[in-house]
């Protein structure tokens, strides 16, 4: 049977996404976790825009009003073996500069 796939990694169709929306998972954060959209191997590269656009269409609002869900590092999956091979010393400075800044609530 033919299907219109919205998220390939988690095999979510457009219809299923709309159904979850009508089910009360009315915003991206809940939809993402309920349907799995954006949580698979591509981490949203193939479906985040598409899902947000579909949600905007379902809600009848301007896509710019859909808040962007957090896109956390890394960008590509990294094996634990690769990561474990990184030296810590060059990273120490990162902690000082990034974490101890007094920016108003950063990250989310």
């Amino acid at each position: 049977m033919s299907k219109r796939i919205l998220c390939r990694c988690e095999d979510v169709t457009i219809e299923e996404f709309g159904k979850a929306y009508r089910d009360g998972f009315a915003e991206m954060e809940a939809l993402k976790r309920f349907t799995g959209v954006g949580t698979g191997f591509c981490q949203g590269k193939g479906c985040l825009c598409e899902s947000a656009l579909e949600l905007a269409r379902l809600r009848g609002i301007d896509p710019a009003q859909i808040p962007l869900t957090n896109i956390r590092p890394p960008i590509e999956p990294l094996t634990f073996e690769e990561l474990a091979s990184l030296d810590l010393p060059p990273l120490m400075g990162e902690m000082e500069t990034a974490l101890l800044r007094k920016d108003p609530e950063v990250g989310s």
Binding site: D23, G24, F25, A26, E27, E29, A30, R33, F34, G40, F41, Q43, N70, R72, P73, P74, P77, L78, T79, F80, E81, E82, L83, A84, L86, L88, L91, M92, E94, M95, A98, L99, L100, R101, K102, D103, P104, E105, V106, G107, S108
Partner: protein, 394 residues
Amino acid sequence: MIPLPEGPVPATADAVIVGGGINGLAIAYELARRGMKHLVVLERDYLGSGSTGRCGGGIRQQWTTEENIRLAQESVAAFERLAGELGLQTFFRQGGYLMVTEDESHLDSMRKAVALQNSCQVPSRFLEPRECLEIVPQLDISRLKGASFCQKDGTAYPFSVVWGYAKASARRGVQIFIRTRLLEVRHGDGRITGVVTDRGEIATPLLINCAGPWSRSLAAMVGVQLPNRQERHEIMVSESCKPFLDPMVISISDGIYFSQSMRGEIVGGIGDPQEPHWDRPDQFDTRSQLRFAVRFARALTAYWPPARQLRLMRQWAGMYDVTPDHRPILGGVPGLEGYQMACGYSGHGFMLAPMAASRLAKQITTGEPDKIIDSLSLARFARGDIEADAFVVG
């Protein structure tokens, strides 16, 4: 499924609960279940966006203080029936908790803890390192000195639990407002009278502080000083593989914990003594750090070599709301009527919330004193009556 009202908040409410994480929603549900009407939950972002949705979802009974053991034990019983009660799967799976140590010096307290847990009917047991291999094949036991294991401990999916509570609360008339900020608390003459939000004002005689890392600053708004401080903790999720790991593995020595979720991913984190502590929300920083990913990868591959070829997909950070004795603060404060709190869980709010919520709701609706709530009240710090729980990990 979860009707989330938009527009202005109601002008009056019998209680306003601040925080749309597991604590706030569980308390809303428990109050509504006990017949309270006109309840409002305020959430600054989306449901579970604070600490709940960022946690590892672990639920364990292996603690070193009796209150924590009792609360956790009741919570495990609650998690066993929660799916049916809330009408949504929680993905609660009792794969057990394997707590390991590399330090000879921990063995004594570990044995004592097991004895205390057993006296509370928690079926934990002490294990020699080689016995761990029966529970986690391929675990590298070369540096281990001992372990304790409880099969009845487990993990659940935090978001599902949050939605379940939200759904069950909404069904009982609780109004949940997301993306709503609390701006001010109205109080005077020793009582709470209302709150001001960015969606309008609510007159209310009861304010329940379930704001997690923000609870300290919320308490300060009504003149209550909490001894909590906020710590940043990171966590990560790997790619999804077929089931290969049953329990949550947790090390008291270096603070790593990891388990395999019901989606097949490794979910885990590691504590970092170099993480700064904060006491003001404007200092909170939940950006991801490479340092965490590297430290976690090193510890994970050292404990469990098959993870070498597994891939990290995503890392994120959340806040622990930590009290001086690593135990929660529950109940009210003398001299301020209508103020209650459930905060300071020190990284274990997800596992302790269901029962803490149930006990607190019972005390609020019936006025009957509760022994555990009393022993976990804010007053304990002034009394100097504190006993820290030694098994705080992550």
